[in-house]
Assembly symmetry: C3
Homo-oligomer: 204 residues x 3
Amino acid sequence: MLRLLPQETKFFDLFEAQAAKVHEAARALEELARNYEQVQEKARHIKVLETQADHITHDIIDKLNRTFITPFDREDIHALASALDDVLDNIEGVASRLALFHITSVTHEVIQLTSIIEQACGAMRQAIAHMRDFTKISEYLIQINHLENEADTISRTATADLFRDAADFRELIKWKEIYGRLEATTDDCEDVANILEGIVVKNT
Amino acid sequence: MLRLLPQETKFFDLFEAQAAKVHEAARALEELARNYEQVQEKARHIKVLETQADHITHDIIDKLNRTFITPFDREDIHALASALDDVLDNIEGVASRLALFHITSVTHEVIQLTSIIEQACGAMRQAIAHMRDFTKISEYLIQINHLENEADTISRTATADLFRDAADFRELIKWKEIYGRLEATTDDCEDVANILEGIVVKNT
Amino acid sequence: MLRLLPQETKFFDLFEAQAAKVHEAARALEELARNYEQVQEKARHIKVLETQADHITHDIIDKLNRTFITPFDREDIHALASALDDVLDNIEGVASRLALFHITSVTHEVIQLTSIIEQACGAMRQAIAHMRDFTKISEYLIQINHLENEADTISRTATADLFRDAADFRELIKWKEIYGRLEATTDDCEDVANILEGIVVKNT
């Protein structure tokens, strides 16, 4: 009977570790955009973080398979772990494309968007740190929604500008993809927020 | 105890209001395509409708947080509200891109696709109006699936034609994006239909 | 009371039939890529398989509506049927675009990616065949995840190569779309794996 509390604690610990890893990757992407040099190396480092996070995700699923009593619904634990995984997959996808497409310098909008992603991942991490007691979660979720809206506006305008300014079709297509992936990353953060909101809804 | 019925009624009312707003935006998009003028103003109006719908979505989530007994599963209420929100986000995304990309005239296929979206949103609204008794929901869901298939065929053919006809890479990419977003909107309508189908499955 | 077992059996039978149809379409796509001729006819045949699978999907939903006791959660049955449907939709989408875009020959990477999709669909089929007892499901799910990662790497590199090699903007955009759809198909296989994993998590 005494195992109940430790079990719960372990799930929260694992989610905090996963969210910390996602946040670390978001920071690395923002740093890459701000100091745009050694792109291959920095992208490879983000790939390493993704692999580390994958191990945590598998730990969560594994633990789920071997735990009878969980702090909240099994399917929500599963959905949250997958959604956090998706955010990091997208962060890695942006970094790897900057390297693969041989992008030699980034625009102001890329710096803005990576900064928004870093903030959204920070808010996700805070929300997850408050899952034990469900206090203040809402404010972080609202923050993530605002950040997603902001990213949407920036990437739309940046894409529209591309149509006006890009001289070469390769450049237009590459950049449209980069902006699209950056925006998709904030969409994924919003998915995490929606899952967290759903968990709050069920458990309060 | 007597609060049970009013509570339920209120959720249905809110979903009907949200579906009505989505339908209104779909109508506005279809009107924009048919009478393609004052694009900036019309796109801005759709943005206003989106903001109004957002308030209803938040009302639903808020109400969900403060209600103990709900007419169907809390997670389904949450999923349905989010999915309706996604449809309107995409409708607004199409309108805003027509304006942002400085598209000066629309094709016959855009008119067809916006008309299909309007019909699908009308069917969603009807299905939601029948959620109180679950009668006739299936026929609306079948209708939405048919409309999605139709949209798929039109947008694929239109995209294939683009590859043959577009003289300029900017035009090709812009139009491919517009067709893609229009198709994605009908995919989102199908997601709503799938969620409604799931609710019917659980509650009948 | 004795109806319980037959009912359950029927659901498993239907899922096996649906997974077999998805696998058949994946094989047809792989064969189309390897022997790239009579593209219109082969694409039309895959469309026929998709329609046949749609009927099975509707059988599952229909049966779900008329069955009181199901072998696992109703919403999971619904989610699994929809996700298998999505895989086949994407397979058909690739075949139809090869035909519609008048692609005259395919690259080595297309052959590799369709082979990966065929393997992933085979693994999905095996996993579903093991749903009755939940044994060995995990190894198939791990296999699907590995295949998805592999597809991701191939399609990213192929897309990066496109930017370097494509002489014409139409070619670049067409091929980018083909690679994107092929990768999306393996993502959909991963979604099926995630749903199966969630079912295992809830039922063991």
